[in-house]
Amino acid sequence: MSATAEQLVTLHPQVYRGDALPPVRALGTGIAALDGLLPGGGFPRGRIAELHGPMAGGRMTLALHLIRHALDRGERAAVVDLPGTFVPPETWNGGMPPAQGEPDAPRGTAAGRAPAGSPPDLDAERLLIGRPADLQQALRAVGILTRSRQWGLVLLDLTGAPRMPSAAWLQRVGSDIRSADTVLLLLHARPVSPLGSPITLRLHVQRRLTEAGRALRVRVAKNKLAPPEGSVDLPFASPGVPHA
C-alpha cells in the first residue's frame, strides 16, 4: 500500500480495507454451506440478486429454499411467474394421500404417503403467485410489490423472456427497495448485465450428476458486498423418485 493510502486508512479507520465490511441484513436460504458464502449469511435485503444458469440448471430449487425460509420467518413472499410453470414442491414431491371420503387408492399404485424426511408444506397463505401476460406486465407487477415494501422476498422468474429488464428499470426498483427489507431475486438463463447494473449478488447455478447422486453447484459470480469468491456443491437430500 502506498504511503498516501496508509495515511488515509490511519486517519479514517472506517475506510474500506477489505476486512471490515458494514453489517449486512440478509435473508438466509437455510443451507449453511451456501449461506456461509453469501454476505451477511444470505441474500442481502434491500438489494437485487440474480440466479442464472442453464435451463433446468437448479435455479428454481435454490429459489424455493429462499421462499421457504422467508415464509418460515413469517414474511410474505411473492413469485412473479412469467413462464407460468411454478408449482409448490409438495404438490408433486412426496406423494399425496387421498383425503377422507375420496376413492380408494387406484389399483397398482404405490402407497401415496409422503416419505420420511419430506419437507413440510409451504405456508401458502402468505405466498402470492402473479402470472403476468408479458414482460412489461411482469416488471410493473414487481414495481407494485417492491414499492409496497411489505414482501420479504419478490421473485421474478424471467425464464424464457424475450429480453432483459432495462438498466433504468433496475435502477428504479433498486432504489425502491434500498431502505426496505425486500430481497428482489431475478431468475434467468443468462446474466442481466447492463452498464451500471444495481444487481448486488449474482450466483451461477448448475446441476451436476455425480456418483454420489445429484448435486447443485453454486458459484458466486458477483458480490458487491464482499470479494466474489467461492463455490459450493450442495447434494439433494432425497434423490429418490418422486411419488406420482
Binding site: 449453511a32 454476505p39 410474505r76 413462464p83
Partner: protein
C-alpha cells in the same frame, strides 16, 4: 361428540365437567347463560387506562353522586350514592373522576356484538355489564356447557375484563349463579338447590318487602323457598309469589335479542357531473372519512362497504368494497374504492355518491393492532388490489394442495386474498446461522464443510410442471425402461433412470394408466416423464430446475 374437539384452555377447570352438565341436544330444556362483569363501571374505567395501577378512585355520575368506588376508596369509607362533598369528607385523598355514559354504552354494545359469536340470541341487559345468551342446542359445537362458558370467559378476558359466567334454567337463575363461581353450570332442574345459599338481596324486591323479609330473619333465597307458598301468598300477595318463584329459579321472561345498530351511510350530491379521474379520489376520501368517523364512534369497524353512484345518464352503479379484515382506516377504504372504480370504468360522469357500511363488526381493541402482523397489512392489501387491477383476478393466485392422485390435479389455484393472519410464534422461526460472513469456501463439498449436519442438503427440489404434458421421443431397452430421450431442451442417452412409479384409476370417467420415471442426462439436467400405457405414448410432465 369427541371430548377433545376443542383445545384446552389455560384456565380450564381442574374438575372434569359433570355428565349432567353436558349440553342437552334436542331436549326442550331451556338453558340461559349469563355473563356478568363485576363492578362494570370500574372495569370499563380500568380497561380504558390499560389496567394501570390506580390510586383510590371514585366515579361520579352526571348528578355528581358516587356511582362506583374502588376497593381502597370503599375501605376509606366512600360508598356509592354519596355526594362528592360527603365522599371528600370521608376520604380526602380519594381521586374523583366522571363516568362517560356514552362511551360505556358503546362498549357494552360492542361486547354484545362480540358475544354474538357464541349464541344466535344475545341480550344486553339494562344493568351495565350483564348479558344473557341462549345456550340451548349448542351441543354440536361444544362438548360441555362448562367448556362453552370457558370460551366466552376467555374471549372477554382477551378484551380486558374478568367476567363471571354461568348457565341455568332461567335468566334470574343464571344471573344469580354468577355469584357462585367464575364459571358455574347449574344442572337442569337443580336451580332451587343451587340458588338456595345465595343472599336474598339478589331478588328484585320493593324496599318495603325487603325490609319485611329482613325483619323476619330471611337472609338467603333458600330461606324464602322453605316457606309454604300458600302462607307467602296469604301474607304478601302477588309480590310474595313472584319472589318465591324467582328464588326457585322460575323466570319466564324471554330473552330480548340485541338488535345490531343501524349501519352507517354517508352521501354527497355533486354540483355538476364529475368525470372519472383523480378528482374522484377526493370525493371518495371525503365519504370514507365520514363513514369511518361514524363507525368509530359506535365502536364498530367496517367489514364490507358499498359504493352506490348515480350517474349522469340516470343509471346507477354499485360496487362492493371488502377489506381483508374489519378496518377503521378511511384511507384504505378510499383507496380500495378507487381501485374498484379503476377496474369498473363508469359509462358516464358521477352526479351523486353514497358510501354505506354493508357489514360492520366489533372493532379490535387498539392495543391489539400493534401485534396483528409484521409490516403494514393495509399497504399489502392495497398492493394486492393494484396487482389485481394490473393482471386480473385470475392471475393473482395462491396455491392450495388438493388430495388427488393425478399430479396435475394436486394443486388448485385460488384467488389470493391478503388476510390478517395471527402473529407467528417467534419461537417457531428458524434461527439464522450465526458467525457467517463473506465466504472463503472454494469448491468444497457441502457435506465436508458442515460437520454438524445442519443445512447440509437441499430439501426442496424445483420442478416446472408442463401443463399439459408434452410429447417426447423415448427409446427403451428390452425391459421397457427408457435409455434415450429427446425433449425440447435436452436429448441423448440417459445417465440415470429411476422408476417406474405406476398410477392408474378413474376407470369410471376418464381412465388413465401411467408409468412415471425420473430421468437424468449426463450433464445433470433432469426430467419427469411418463408412459401413457393406454395410448402407448411418452410424455414430459416436468423439468427439474
Amino acid at each position: 361428540m369427541p371430548e377433545n374437539s376443542t383445545p384446552p384452555l389455560p384456565f380450564a377447570p381442574s374438575t372434569p365437567p359433570a355428565t349432567s352438565t353436558a349440553v342437552p341436544t334436542g331436549t326442550p330444556l331451556r338453558r340461559v347463560a349469563c355473563v356478568r362483569i363485576p363492578a362494570p363501571h370500574l372495569a370499563f374505567y380500568l380497561r380504558a387506562r390499560r389496567g394501570a395501577a390506580l390510586p383510590p378512585t371514585a366515579l361520579l355520575d352526571e348528578a355528581g353522586l358516587v356511582r362506583a368506588a374502588s376497593r381502597e376508596a370503599r375501605q376509606a369509607g366512600v360508598e356509592p350514592g354519596m355526594t362528592r362533598k360527603q365522599a371528600e369528607a370521608m376520604a380526602p385523598h380519594v381521586r374523583f373522576d366522571a363516568l362517560d355514559p356514552h362511551a360505556e354504552a358503546a362498549e357494552w354494545e360492542r361486547l354484545a356484538l362480540l358475544l354474538g359469536r357464541f349464541s344466535p340470541t344475545v341480550e344486553k341487559a339494562e344493568e351495565a355489564g350483564v348479558f344473557y345468551l341462549d345456550a340451548h342446542g349448542l351441543g354440536r359445537l361444544y362438548p360441555s356447557l362448562r367448556e362453552y362458558l370457558a370460551h366466552i370467559r376467555f374471549t372477554l378476558q382477551g378484551e380486558g375484563y374478568q367476567p363471571r359466567v354461568a348457565v341455568a334454567g332461567s335468566r334470574f337463575a343464571a344471573r344469580a349463579a354468577t355469584h357462585l363461581n367464575e364459571i358455574h353450570v347449574v344442572p337442569p332442574g337443580r336451580d332451587p338447590v343451587a340458588l338456595a345459599p345465595l343472599p336474598l338481596a339478589l331478588l328484585p324486591l320493593s324496599p318495603g318487602l325487603r325490609e319485611t323479609f329482613a325483619a323476619l330473619g330471611l337472609r338467603a333465597l333458600g330461606d324464602l323457598t322453605a316457606i309454604p307458598v300458600a302462607e307467602l301468598e296469604a301474607r304478601f300477595g302477588r309480590e310474595g309469589i313472584e319472589a318465591v318463584r324467582l328464588a326457585q329459579g322460575e323466570d319466564p321472561t324471554p330473552l330480548r335479542p340485541f338488535a345490531t345498530p343501524e349501519l352507517a351511510a354517508v352521501e354527497l350530491a355533486l354540483d355538476g357531473p364529475l368525470e372519472q379521474g383523480d378528482a374522484v379520489r377526493f370525493l371518495l376520501a371525503n365519504l370514507a372519512n365520514r363513514l369511518i368517523d361514524i363507525l368509530n364512534r359506535r365502536g364498530l369497524a367496517c367489514e364490507e362497504a358499498r359504493l352506490v353512484l348515480r350517474l349522469d345518464d340516470r343509471s346507477e352503479q354499485t360496487l362492493a368494497i371488502e377489506p381483508a379484515a374489519p378496518t377503521l382506516s378511511a384511507r384504505l377504504l378510499a383507496d380500495l374504492a378507487f381501485l374498484a372504480l379503476e377496474r369498473n370504468p363508469l359509462p358516464a360522469p358521477i352526479l351523486h355518491a353514497r358510501l354505506e357500511a354493508a357489514r360492520a363488526g366489533a372493532a379490535a381493541p387498539d392495543q391489539r393492532v400493534l401485534f396483528v402482523e409484521r409490516g403494514d397489512p393495509d399497504r399489502a392489501e392495497l398492493a394486492v388490489a393494484r396487482l389485481r387491477n394490473l393482471l386480473g383476478d385470475e392471475a393473482v393466485l395462491r396455491p392450495r394442495r388438493v388430495a388427488a392422485w393425478r399430479p396435475e390435479q394436486r394443486v388448485r389455484w385460488e384467488e389470493y386474498q391478503e388476510r390478517r393472519l395471527p402473529p407467528r410464534d417467534p419461537s417457531s422461526f428458524r434461527r439464522p446461522r450465526e458467525g457467517r460472513t463473506a465466504g472463503t469456501f472454494t469448491s468444497r463439498s457441502a457435506v465436508e464443510s458442515d460437520a454438524d449436519g445442519a443445512g447440509r442438503f437441499l430439501r426442496d427440489e424445483g420442478l416446472r410442471l408442463c401443463a399439459p404434458p408434452l410429447p417426447v421421443q423415448v427409446r427403451v431397452d428390452a425391459g421397457g425402461r427408457p435409455v434415450w430421450c429427446q425433449s425440447a431442451w435436452a436429448w441423448g442417452p440417459l445417465a440415470r433412470v429411476e422408476g417406474p412409479e405406476r398410477i392408474g384409476g378413474d376407470w369410471w370417467s376418464t381412465p388413465y394408466e401411467r408409468d412415471y420415471y425420473r430421468i437424468d442426462w449426463p450433464g445433470g439436467a433432469g426430467a419427469w416423464i411418463f408412459l401413457d400405457r393406454l395410448a402407448n405414448a411418452w410424455y414430459l410432465h416436468g423439468i427439474y430446475d
